[in-house]
Subunit: 444 residues, 2 copies
């Protein structure tokens, strides 16, 4: 697609380019524009019909927004802002540098500016920060015919009309009807008689994590959001939730390895920002490994006498680190999607203890015979290594399965740096146990 | 909710229980039933209205399905199967043991049995295996009025009517109209004039990964699926995609730590299955660590003379392992959601090299001064450790950023055991480099 567009641009064949663009999907156009240089980007953007322009704009990333905003005039900004849905507006503005936000807000009506500012104040990661106000509202005493007329009149300005919300004069949410309900009912049916009153509803301050869990659990397409006084203030639609889940999953995966979230997509993030997002936990855990160093230091004489023992340190550390990180990842994920509940902790720990025993004993036996029979290692040393393996695997799995629960109970994010942290902690234990067991078995 | 239900059950107050259930959400009822004992579960299930029963059944997990199927009669099975959507039917049957599948299939009509068997044959992880056939189809020469009449007539049996698909006599997909389009158009408009012909469409053999990427990218609610001859054979709806994404993300996170996917939810999986899903990679990598052991073995004499060097092994191994796993996780995720493309490899590698240099030099300097000034370690040894750190971090980041690309190019899953594997590989390099550098600096 980008090749076709570049060709039209080189030929200055704008008429055909315009026709070509009219047939393409807004998400694809946004992607291509972000790959063009600034002049071409503006040119292509201006060739879009004005409505498509706003839609394409909503799909772009931050850098492209800045590029476009720098090059369009005040009228174009006004038009753009009037045609963006509120959730996209808030999403775009909350990422832009302050001077761009000011310029944008100067070009919208005062009423809309107030509204935008209000929406911008909802804390990040709450339903309020991702909802939109363009929902379809109906009254309970309308007939279906009246309702459909209202839908026809306002649908074009709404994010969705598949779900319509029934509110009273104080904007309290009373129920919901789907467009399908309206189609299936006879014209003179009263909305009150067909509306569903058991609506799955969120609050402006509900966390986005919880919102996405509710969408997945109840298979909903749009969720009404109410304020603290139960007044309907917005809706969240499933497409935004999917985007949210993708973003949150990426952030969680990164966090689990000790990397903090990036503001921009990876390919658009500079080297220093990338390094900064990763270095903090690496540094902390590097310092944390001093404990392992001190433990080894205490056993220096012993190690000099039995230097062969040093050879098994990597295997012991790797295996226990891997085991711990593995368990922790599974538990953190289970807690995250509510597949494992906080109250399951005793059951999970008991389960994991037994898993630890099976894995520990199996690996230890395999390791013992490998060392003894294949590598002709002194069976006492092979025994010490294998016995340590059982213990460290048990510790690794116990730490990996209990720390996420503890973090949750302390209202900390169980994902933060969980896998390198557990590796580092478990390694220190592994080394300590290893030398203790080896000393005992060797009778020193 | 479960307490209320248990109370009604104890009081044998079935009438009120029935009324109570009628008000609850099917997803919640399914959850409660899975927590009841078998007799109560059946009792509650039978109190549901027949339509709700099928919906609740679709939300249940495998064990609960078996429990219910064991206790209901043939007529009930027939009714249930006739009221389940095809995607749920296939989903349920593909998880049940063969004898249950046989019993279920004996109680459906021959036509439906053939259809189910056909659907069961689509390979797992393809669009065909998750699509459903209950889509709303229209003809292009219908008027909007005729179309709406058709929707009214069949909507109740359709998974969704928010999107309707226009097909010709050979069932070739021509376009799509939304229910909103129909409402907004005048009665005598011809469907052909308002249908959208640029439909985002999938093929029965498109991978489910790709399907979910398309849903997220294009913000779609339902996607038509065509066979190899471009005939419309089914649709996939966004709620199924969300479930799919949740499941696939869990599997991917597990796989990255070397754990294979579980068939059932964690809490319903036995200890042996849990152990088996995790032990294979732990075993392979335990054996892999033999390389590190052999390297240390080669430097035994040197290590005996400078046993202090052993103390820094854990820090070097942990830091490089953590760094490598971190980078790999970020790259694997980026590739998975198409934020990073295969063709970005050179750019990514160049980027990561520079990130490695920044992180490596910063951590090495911090480490050098910590060892020298705070721990009074001989500066030559502190230097050897720190120099090794720069090298191993560079290797870790290079491995972490290139191996996922290579796996992709070889059409392997880049996620499989990526983080423990990189830890183990990088550790071997770290040890080798450490002794080489230390020997050189100490002038031996």
């Amino acid at each position: 697609m980008i090749d076709t567009i570049l060709e039209f641009l080189v030929q200055k064949n704008y008429k055909q380019l315009k026709e070509f663009l009219a047939e393409e999907n807004p998400a694809d156009i946004a992607e291509v524009i972000s790959e063009l240089d600034e002049n071409d980007a503006i040119l292509v953007f201006r060739l879009l019909s004005k409505d498509t322009g706003a839609e394409v704009f909503a799909y772009m990333d931050k850098d492209t927004h800045i590029g476009i905003l720098e090059n369009i005039n005040e009228d174009e900004i006004t038009y753009l802002m009037n045609n963006l849905f509120m959730d996209d507006t808030v999403d775009i503005l909350s990422e832009l540098p302050a001077n761009y936000v000011t310029r944008v807000l100067q070009n919208v009506s005062e009423a809309r500016r107030k509204l935008i500012n209000h929406f911008l104040q909802y804390p990040e990661d709450t339903a309020g920060s991702i909802m939109t106000i363009e929902y379809m509202d109906l009254k309970k005493d309308m007939t279906v015919k009246e309702a459909i007329e209202r839908v026809k009149k306002y649908a074009i300005k709404k994010e969705t009309v598949n779900n319509c919300y029934i509110i009273d004069d104080k904007r309290m949410l009373l129920g919901e009807v789907t467009l399908k309900d309206l189609i299936l009912a006879t014209d003179d049916t009263i909305i009150n008689d067909i509306m569903n009153e058991d609506v799955i509803v969120g609050n402006t301050l509900t966390s986005t994590d919880e919102i996405s869990l509710m969408f997945t659990k109840y298979d909903i397409l749009s969720m009404p959001i109410v304020d603290t006084e139960s007044r309907l203030v917005g809706i969240i639609t499933v497409d935004d939730v999917m985007e949210l889940i993708e973003e949150e999953t990426s952030e969680e995966m990164g966090r689990m390895t000790g990397a903090s979230p990036l503001e921009n997509p990876y390919m658009k993030t500079g080297v220093f920002k990338l390094a900064r997002s990763r270095i903090i936990w690496l540094f902390v855990l590097m310092i944390g490994a001093t404990i392992s160093q001190l433990i080894i230091g205490k056993y220096e004489d012993f190690l000099t006498a039995y230097v062969v023992l040093a050879g098994f340190l990597p295997m012991l550390m790797d295996t226990s680190g891997n085991t711990g990180a593995q368990t922790a990842t599974i538990i953190v994920r289970g807690l995250g999607i509510n597949e494992i509940k906080l109250s399951d902790m005793p059951k999970v720990l008991f389960k994991e203890m037994r898993v630890a025993l099976i894995i520990g004993v199996t690996l230890a036996l395999a390791n013992f015979f490998k060392l003894w029979l294949l590598q002709s290692i002194d069976p006492v040393i092979a025994g010490a290594v294998s016995l340590t393996l059982i213990c460290t695997i048990t510790i690794a799995i116990t730490a990996g399965s209990s720390l996420p629960f503890l973090a949750r109970k302390l209202k900390l994010d169980p994902a933060v740096a969980v896998s390198p942290m557990i590796t580092t902690i478990v390694d220190a234990f592994a080394i300590l146990l290893y030398f203790t067991i080896a000393k005992a078995l060797l009778g020193i």
